[in-house]
């Protein structure tokens, strides 16, 4: 994050974001491990289901942590995040629907995960852009 983003965080926001990040990392590790182990058939089916269930639960806790972060966030920081979420969601819809038409015109088939990647990248990029737009002013000290 930029310095503009950093100073948008109050100490409480930093703590809440750390909690969100911890859940996200745990969910990502579980997701990656489950994908590798299930695809490679390294584990029995029951263990695969257990890892999958754990990944889903961890992702749900990640969402809960993010909502908690948003609800308690500094109001300008919350605006930055909500604007970024709106843009990411919109771009995801545009990519999904727009590319469906492109596929009909002969473009390669899109993987179901591709719009998700677009949404995540736009979400991250938009946070930086909106943080610069609303904040970014130097301290008068």
């Amino acid at each position: 994050m930029t310095s503009a983003c950093d100073s948008l965080f109050t100490p409480r926001d930093t703590q809440n974001y750390k909690v969100f990040t911890a859940w996200m990392i745990a969910a990502s590790i579980d997701f990656a491990a489950a994908t590798i182990l299930i695809d490679g058939k390294f584990i029995p089916s029951i263990a695969g289901w257990a890892l999958t269930a754990a990944a889903i639960v961890l992702m749900l806790f990640t969402i809960r942590a993010y909502i908690s972060f948003l609800r308690q966030a500094d109001e300008l920081l919350r605006k930055v995040h909500l604007d970024a979420l709106a843009l990411a969601f919109g771009m995801g819809v545009v990519v999904m629907m727009g590319y469906r038409l492109c596929e009909r015109l002969g473009a390669p088939k899109m993987d179901v995960n591709d719009p998700l990647l677009v949404m995540m990248l736009v979400w991250i990029g938009a946070q930086l852009v909106f943080a610069r737009r609303y904040a970014g002013g130097e301290s008068d000290e």
Binding site: A4, S7, F9, L76, Y134, A135, G136, G137, S139, E141
Partner: protein
């Protein structure tokens, strides 16, 4: 919306960080309000008014309108 936040803060000799701490927001939020990039929520506007012991309309006013109190 225009505001007199920077002037009022200067009168109290507070830095943006000082005011932000009093209001429980980030310094960037104070900066964004002062520069007109962001209009505060009603609860925050009330908190600002209370901090300076003024009415909201004495601090904030619509674009193009002078403050009700100088």
């Amino acid at each position: 919306m225009n505001n007199r936040l920077r002037v009022l803060r200067a009168e109290h000799r507070w830095s943006q960080a000082d005011l932000a701490e009093r209001l429980g927001v980030s310094r960037q939020t104070v900066n964004a309000i002062e520069t007109g990039k962001y209009d505060p929520s009603l609860p925050l506007a009330f908190a600002i008014a209370k901090t300076f012991s003024l009415a909201i309309e004495e601090i904030f006013h619509p674009n193009g309108e002078a403050s009700t109190k100088v």
